[in-house]
């Protein structure tokens, strides 16, 4: 049992962190506001540099233009994205839509779609249902991967779709399926179990994005408490405030433990049900901690936390978005309730 990154994984983290540094809202608060203020809501130049670094093809087979990396490497990237609140649709496009193509697509589909995704030339989006909303980057994506009741289809973005802005600065759209314009992904037919597994992998990746965001929100908050003065002293002199920060740290560390564990289950387990349950556990804990940390980060900042020009409120917004995307806490509780009597005690080392 080992929860530390190896040297290559650390190098990947440092490279992604270095690339994203200029986009850190703590370094340049206006840059993110400017990028998210205009369509498509993310920086296509940065997307291209992520492609050059191999990040967009990270989880895919080398034969499909990818890097053949696993859930841990994906986690490393997502956490860095979350840390600086990068609006690039990595989880939606690469992990989820790309993940479905990788799992189900024919040789030709994988070569074409994943090759284009990895090189940054083709953006993928994931749509659920015949009328799907909100589809993250549904108006910008070149290719839509549809999940219609467990049947997975693929086709070009329908015409005449317009994007709207989501509260966290992203873009989404409403898409309607045109059966005449899509083809089955791979052999076609019911792929419910594969979809559930890929979604679980995307949930875990989204949890890592949230971990990065929570970490920054807490850092910003503790930094603020040690500099902001009221009543002639810095705020960290008030125990009522520092104790709340301690509770945020506790929530973050517990979440980090369970999300990291879920990543390792996804990396090592052959049992798709175990991976789905681990993802549900990570998603539930992340939802609880994300809400707490988002709320408290604003409250401990006071009025400045409410302003659009200060970053901390955007962290709360993004954490809220991540909580409700790919299944909220209620959904995870329902799934886990159904399996409650399958075990006497949970054994994390035997998942």
């Amino acid at each position: 049992m080992d929860f530390t990154l190896d040297e290559e994984q650390e190098a990947l983290r440092d490279a992604v962190r270095g690339l994203l540094k200029g986009y850190d809202p703590a370094v340049d608060a206006e840059r993110r506001r400017h990028v998210t203020g205009e369509d498509p809501g993310f920086d296509e130049g940065l997307w291209g540099r992520l492609a050059e670094m191999g990040v967009l093809g990270l989880p895919f087979a080398e034969a499909d233009g990818g890097m053949d990396a696993g859930p841990v490497e994906v986690a490393v990237v997502c956490e860095e994205i979350g840390r600086v609140l990068a609006p690039e649709p990595y989880v939606a496009s690469v992990v989820l839509a790309g993940g479905l193509v990788a799992a189900l697509g024919s040789d030709e589909q994988r070569a074409e779609l994943l090759g284009g995704l990895a090189s940054g030339e083709r953006l993928l989006a994931y749509a659920e249902g015949e009328v799907a909303e909100p589809v993250v980057q549904g108006a910008r994506a070149d290719t839509i991967v549809w999940n219609v009741g467990g049947e997975v289809l693929v086709g070009p973005r329908p015409d005449g779709v317009t994007a709207y802005r989501t509260h966290d600065g992203g873009r989404a759209a409403r898409l309607e399926l045109d059966r005449g314009a899509v083809t089955p992904l791979g052999a076609g037919g019911d792929a419910t179990d594969v979809v559930a597994l890929v979604k679980a992998q995307a949930q875990i990746a989204a949890c890592h994005e949230a971990l990065g965001a929570m970490d920054t929100a807490l850092r910003m908050t503790t930094a603020y408490l040690t500099t902001r003065k009221q009543f002639g002293v810095t705020l960290n002199r008030f125990q009522a405030l520092t104790f709340r920060a301690a509770d945020l740290y506790t929530a973050l560390e517990l979440t980090r433990s369970i999300v990291t564990w879920a990543t390792l289950v996804a990396a090592e387990s052959d049992d798709p049900v175990a991976v789905r349950h681990a993802a549900a556990r990570a998603k539930l804990q992340t939802a609880r901690a994300g809400r707490l940390i988002g709320q408290e980060a604003i409250q401990l900042h006071g009025g400045i936390g409410m302003t659009a020009e200060y970053a901390v409120g955007h962290y709360a917004s993004r954490l809220t978005a991540l909580n409700h995307w790919l299944g909220d806490a209620r959904e995870q509780v329902a799934l886990l309730s159904a399996g409650l009597t399958d075990h006497t005690v949970l054994d994390p080392l035997d998942a």
């Binding site: 049992m1 929860f3 530390t4 520092t242 301690a246 506790t250 517990l254 369970i258 005690v345 994390p348």
Partner: protein
């Protein structure tokens, strides 16, 4: 990164599981499983079985019965013990005074005290807290004054857990009242509970139990060779001891077991069919899993033997969850929880409210949870 245990680690876990589930007397494990207080004889019998197998004091130096285990092995030992409903080695002996004597005591003190401490031939009491020195332990006022080679001790200790069973007490006393800082001028003394001048008064707790005591010292004479380490250096030994206390204080395995038992009860009674009740179990299991994994992260990264700062997180969250499970038991019992004196309602229901009340102590002892928040805010977050 790797989740699975290595083959050696997995074999170690099997070995521990087999030992705890087959070698510890069943009547002791039943007492723990049903949520009853463990009596003195059961503690002694269990610790002697463990000591005979070399499993009572693995955290001690090897020459005094310790095992050269990795932090993960020690964690597995501790978890398997709790899951098997085995009362842990007496903390005052195994986690507190034993390591202090082994690290700071004289050779003579080690030879005299460590073997009977490991075997629970001596039952130790902790003489730390005083009526006016709780979380602010360093403000203690019990005095020890030189008289020739001896020390004369006067003062009062309180919250002395299971002191009614104790043969000896380890005690912090002020030996230099003129010291500049209150942390200076404190010494660490050992003496028998039946020394002339020692009086013990039991304190009844809100659940009707007698776990803690007041201990009064009236001109108690302590030979000079029963002072551990150096005069006036007791605070540093106490801090060493309290760091050890905090590590074992997150009862992950025991809380998991308590929750599993409640789940079984709720399943049998049909209570688990209620979605709200099932959701509480799900949330608690999830938080406990997160806590257990955090404990695993901490043990994996504390190689130098010093407590990881995140051990405060374990104490804080571990006791909160322990209390939350006891709350769930009271809620499942519902009106039957009032029938604590009944022998006709199910035993778990009759015990639920006393247990719930008793466990309020968990967020107070071992460094109150407010002290843990202070440590997290100060040493980890820099606030």
């Amino acid at each position: 990164m790797r989740l699975r245990l290595t083959e050696e680690e997995a074999a170690f876990r099997e070995e521990m599981r087999a030992f705890f589930t087959t070698e510890i007397p069943q009547h002791v494990r039943d007492t723990v499983a049903t949520g009853h207080h463990v009596g003195k004889d059961d503690y002694v019998e269990t610790m002697r079985v463990m000591n005979a197998a070399g499993l009572a004091v693995p955290n001690w130096p090897v020459e005094w019965g310790g095992r050269d285990w990795t932090p993960l092995q020690r964690h597995i030992w501790h978890e398997e013990m709790q899951l098997a409903c085995v009362p842990p080695p007496l903390a005052f002996n195994a986690n507190m005074v034993g390591p202090v004597i082994a690290n700071f005591g004289s050779q003579e003190q080690k030879e005299r005290f460590l073997p009977p401490t490991a075997n629970l031939d001596i039952w130790w009491a902790q003489g730390f807290s005083e009526p006016n020195a709780g979380s602010d332990l360093a403000s203690l006022t019990t005095r020890a004054v030189r008289d020739g080679d001896d020390w004369i001790v006067n003062g009062q200790k309180t919250w002395t857990t299971l002191g009614q069973h104790a043969d000896w007490i380890f005690c912090l006393a002020r030996t230099d009242p003129e010291a500049e800082r209150k942390q200076q001028g404190i010494s660490f003394l050992l003496f028998p509970m039946d020394s002339p001048g020692v009086t013990l008064r039991p304190i009844e707790l809100i659940d009707g139990s007698f776990e803690v005591n007041e201990v009064f010292f009236d001109d108690v004479r302590v030979p000079g060779d029963l002072l551990v380490g150096e005069v006036n250096q007791g605070w540093s030994y106490a801090k060493f001891l309290l760091g050890n206390e905090r590590v074992g204080v997150a009862p992950v395995g025991a809380t998991k077991r308590a929750l599993a038992r409640l789940k079984e009860i709720a399943q049998e009674s049909g209570a688990l069919d209620d979605e709200l009740t099932a959701a509480r179990f799900v949330e608690l299991e999830n938080e406990l899993l997160a806590l257990e994994l955090t404990a695993l992260r901490v043990v994996a990264h504390s190689s130098d033997g010093k407590p990881h700062p995140a051990s405060s997180v374990l104490k804080l969250k571990g006791t909160e969850l322990q209390q939350a499970v006891s709350e769930l038991a009271v809620d499942l019992a519902g009106p039957l929880s009032l029938a604590s004196g009944s022998d006709t309602v199910p035993e778990w229901a009759a015990l639920s409210a006393p247990t719930y009340l008793n466990l309020r102590k968990a967020s107070i002892y071992g460094g109150s949870n407010e002290i843990q928040r202070q440590i997290i805010a100060g040493t980890i977050l820099g606030l």
